[in-house]
Symmetry: C2
Subunit: 133 residues, 2 copies
């Protein structure tokens, strides 16, 4: 296993999932040492869920797994870039293909920039998860 | 200013710099609220340097600034994706265009995967910074 530096973030490193063909950034999450090991061993992306405080096999409940095509590490050994094939076509729990479906632009009331939605919605989370998300 | 959730990581959010034309992921660093504000106001990427514990205008010493072309935020408001024009053609202090110039692959002695260098070296850091990095 490639050794990473998990010391800077209390046992975690950021991990980026990027579409292996188009280069689109799908999501960013965190890995602990166990999820990094499982990702390498299984070829399926595993993260650490900060909100749930547990190992997170991405897509375990939704079926939208991420198949690893390539794993890269950065110059400081404290970040992972994974090129993946996104099963089910959507990475985001909102139903969008990418979690980054909002662009900061324009000026709204009060002079503040506004967020414009710019992304492809693949599924309706109410249908997929059975409740509003 | 778009409000982000800085509470999950002690005042920081991860920020990805991606080449605005090719989609190549150049680097990942962190932003605090001040660097996020300055990035939006100036159109130049600002981070928070964890190692130096200070605001970090990327490229301030090397000249390799990052010009913001587009800013995106993720579904949880706790991560930034910036599409940038990389001045000087290299984002990494090692002289490579991207910090992710190593691929985890193959099996080395002891059965462990090895890192293969796969990236474009743009400058020699000894010449640029005057010392080994």
């Amino acid at each position: 296993m490639i050794r990473l530096d998990f010391s800077k973030l209390d046992g975690l490193v950021p991990a980026i999932a990027q579409d292996w063909q188009t280069g689109e950034v799908l999501m960013v999450a965190f890995m602990n040492e166990e999820s990094w090991r499982l990702t390498q061993e299984t070829g399926i992306m595993h993260y650490w869920s900060r909100s749930r405080g547990k190992l997170w096999k991405k897509g375990e409940s939704s079926g939208n797994l991420q198949e690893v095509k390539e794993l890269r590490v950065d110059c400081d050994d404290d970040c992972v870039l994974a090129r993946v094939r996104q099963i089910g076509d959507a990475a985001c729990h909102t139903g969008y293909r990418s979690c980054f479906y909002r662009v900061a632009e324009g000026i709204g009331p009060g002079g503040a920039p506004v967020l414009r939605t710019d992304g492809r919605k693949v599924f309706d989370p109410r249908e997929k998860y059975g409740e509003p998300r």
